[in-house]
Symmetry: D2
Subunit: 344 residues, 4 copies
């Protein structure tokens, strides 16, 4: 370990994620200076022991050099603005850590913009969602090796720790950083790249579960009468689709001993236990950037990612973004076969 | 050619397709005896020269042996019922032709059921839709070679004929049946198998056009303001999505000289010329069996058909059959990230 | 609980799965009578305490009525043959449990064939693979409620038990069977239906992980020179693809705190820790039935499953089953553009 | 029409496409000045009547202002270099037309770079391949309206003309430009955007045909014995897969009267007539940029394009770019089930 290990962290952005990061860092005994545009968010975290700042400038002032400031803002413009502003306030050898869901290409640009002033930039993909305070965060880190090394006490405080999972059988000796739950993945952008792909995989896994449970949910279709005409595909074997599955119980049984055990399954089982038909949801599924970037990376690299990309496209379709395409299909069907569209 | 060539055809079912088949067969100088449960349908075709029948029995009576009866009914039960009934009325060496969209496996079963009575069965996949009267039908035929051979005058009357397309450069000599627009594809079921795959391809081509035109239709998305938050993927490069394409004109320009020239494009260009936004359609796209069977054939054969199958699934999704899956996705997103679903 | 609870189990088939099932049932204090065509397999399990049988007849003899015989054979013909043979030997009120990967439709047929003799049939989808002895099996069960109920001691012995996972937060009170790791899913076939969909999901999750890790594995593509010509897509942004990820470490870091934590990830992390490039594998991925049946179920139900089906098709393609399709694509490219295929 | 219509064209790049463009423009009575780095290519076209140029400078000299220079080079760097060089040589009100397969975003950048010198930039997506000389080219054009308008004589010479296709029924009156086979699609980049999507659709249509024909090609799989074991999915219904289709004849029969009539089908029928098994191809399918850009556009716009993208990914997989992913799948299968990979 280097002598200049960081034991004090500035945090900009105290939303869902940022506030919990502050809490977890403080629990590990490190000092936090926190700032958010919403004064009450600052006050709440200050009451738990953080030093409050009323401005970015005050936050910078309250930290000792070399400073480390964690920016935890919703992706996009605001992150860029905060980093730009910090770039004006910080000094050589200080470090900005972007813990949000930024595009790794923005990291590369931002690091280059900060470099002339000697300010370091570290990107830290942060997974764990609202559960991170309790479970710890999985941290995927990009940046200069020496700078990342200094920040190890912070990363160790945030990560779940070795005990969070049984050891991988093939591993032995002193646990690696990865086994603690954080990893220096490579130069600037590498952290967000890995986080991006993580989220792409997440989309695919989620879709796999959702599609499968939907097949179970419709397994009683042979019990329902469906009119047969030239516009409607007949059910070939109604006798084989007469099952009325308790989907919530099925999700639960898979949690133990099955090959598809996973945290996403745990969450699904919980949601279905609360509300078996999930009627409170409309089925308009958001996507928030990383899935798109993963698909673009696959295309640009020239490697196939049909599952991840199809999962993404299904989300688009859930929001009606395929409407014009579908109208064209109905128009063609009318064109060649005189088929009128059937009402919903 | 064999001496017992068929020059007389019974037709059961005078809907969209059946009536035009009768007309085209009569135009070629062959006699037609026609039957439909709807008396007015019979009367209409009789006025154009067909011999009307008030029942299947009368239809059979009015034909000279060996008889050929073309069944042209919407897929499924009614076809099976008509074939069963004809099986009771026809005699050895008569032939039933199923020209509808039956599952090729039903052909195999039906042929086996008719065989003990010496009745032949021919399956004839028939493409051409409402345009067949004018353009001719593409006929994909399964059955015993000798029986199919007898029916050549009928198939030749229905098919578009050699002149309907420029000759394939690699071909020479006397045009093959396929160049006339009909093909004996193999034993019973082979015709409907080929027609099934034809429709599977049709689904894929339709989807390709629809997806592409939808990309053009949304190419102005950079002009619209979209709120950026943690639930919404930002548009990365709004400056590159400021095109307002006239999609109808684009479809038209592709009709000449482009690599994607096709009849489906012609139909699309026509539909868009009438109604550029296709607002009269709701975008609920039907599927009618063959697409499903094609996907199942691919799976059972163990050959990949991701494009054809994805095209099929998109139709299911257009009718809301992915709702439960989408609700599960929203529920998971709430579970791990606290994300509330955004209203539509 | 019913008074006629089963405490003794016949096991037919002592392969990978069957032998471990015998062991786990015996560990719970139940008696096992075991049979396999391979005598040494019988001997091995007998040495651990099972009563050996040299034939199906002897196995039946050594059990007290009402008997319960678990058939654990590789899918397909052999299972059917064993069940047929047992059907001749067993008596009214005895039960056959098919714990293999049978198609649920075969269950329905087999149960119907056994019913006239009063023999019960239970299908039990069994997940857990080679790890089941240690972790327990996830059991998805179909059959008559009363018969399944009798077998609860056996299922409880095989299942992982409540403690195998933290409780789902939304649940309270006495744990349900599902929380023990076994579930009566519905009438005959329901167990294998649920297992089938489980495996379909497994295919999708596996593909999601594999595609994502492949994107990471190729993230250095910008470092390699690729000739630019009309046949080769250029790399648009080589500067953004210069990462050399340690994929094994990435898989490891995701095991703690991330959203994609899962047993499949654990296995992947282990495999990569042993062999980072997996050079000992050729990349020809088998599929063994359930993935196909899941796709067919989706198609027949009319619900979209593009992710699960695409995952299946990718396996077909990994075995070269898309060769003819690819040749057609190259032939078309040559046809319209004069493009010669590039050598590998 | 404007008085300053262009009747003289400089052409840079005399490959497959460029030479034919020169020929077709000259056939319409316009003068061509041609240049290529390969002197023999210049000589060949000069012998057919073009004015040869030994350098870009000479080409510019030999044209009268306002000049129009068509650049027809393989995508990527060389096009950019030629445009840069021409930008130094041309004068205000001259026009550069990029007829190659450039990325529309490069058009936007190039037009902006030329604007300060008053040089116009027009992008012209050009479809038609090696057949364009005979059939004419489908032209998709982007640029300033007035500049595009001046070039109409050139575009009209290159396009197939109204008679190349039957009129779309919904159209009447004087044929629009699109009905001639060229279209001003919008501002700079619009032409290549439309061409990009055209090629994306082409990928999807090609895959639809290829997948379908592969299903036919494997329809005899029930005739072949396949060993059944736990690693191999059994063929469920071998009796339904005993067809030996003549795929070349099937492709031919579809050319007349069917719904999937298309130029791509024509090319396929020709290729299969020459070589039914296409054994001269290895099945490594290239992609050349537009398919990738189309997928990226879909992702960035947020509209689903699963068919187009899956078609692209299948090409990647045909070149083995999914190898590492497949190895991971085999490794996981070994991990949970002890499954050894089966040799090819």
């Amino acid at each position: 370990m280097t002598s200049n290990e960081v034991r004090e962290l500035g945090i900009v952005g105290l939303g869902r994620m940022g506030a919990n990061i502050a809490r977890r860092v403080m629990r590990a005994g490190h000092r936090c200076v926190v700032y958010d545009v919403r004064e009450d968010a600052v006050r709440a975290v200050a009451e738990e022991g953080a030093a409050p700042a009323a401005s970015l400038a005050e936050l910078v002032e309250k930290l000792s050099p070399p400073r480390a400031v964690w920016v935890m803002l919703p992706a996009g413009e605001v992150t860029g603005e905060a980093i730009d502003a910090l770039g004006e306030l910080l000094l050589a050898d200080d470090t900005i850590i972007d813990g949000g869901n930024s595009y790794y290409r923005d990291d590369v640009r931002r690091a280059a913009a900060l470099a002339p002033r000697g300010i370091h930039f570290v990107d830290c993909g942060t997974s764990g969602g609202v559960w991170g305070l309790e479970r710890g965060y999985c941290l995927m880190i990009g940046g200069e090796a020496e700078v990342v090394s200094r920040l190890r006490p912070i990363f160790a405080a945030l990560a779940p720790g070795v005990s969070a999972a049984p050891r991988t059988p093939a591993r032995s000796g002193t646990p690696s950083d990865a086994e603690h739950g954080f990893l220096h993945c490579g130069p600037v952008g590498a952290g967000h790249f890995v986080k991006m792909v993580h989220n792409g995989i997440e989309y695919g896994m989620m879709a796999a579960l959702a599609e499968g449970l939907n097949i179970l949910h419709s397994a009683d279709i042979g019990k329902h009468h469906v009119a047969t005409d030239a516009e409607t595909a007949p059910i070939e074997f109604p006798e084989f689709y007469r099952y009325e599955f308790d989907v919530a119980e099925v999700a639960e049984v898979w949690r133990r001993g099955s090959v598809i055990q996973s945290w996403l399954l745990d969450l699904t089982a919980d949601a279905l236990a609360r509300s078996p038909e999930l009627a409170e949801f409309g089925g308009r599924v958001s996507d928030s950037g990383e899935g798109r970037w993963t698909a673009i990376a696959a295309v640009e690299e020239g490697v196939p990612a049909p599952v991840l990309t199809t999962a993404l496209y299904s989300r688009f379709a859930s929001r009606g973004l395929d409407d014009f395409a579908n109208k064209i299909l109905s128009a063609m069907r009318k064109g060649f076969g005189g088929h009128e569209e059937k009402p919903g």
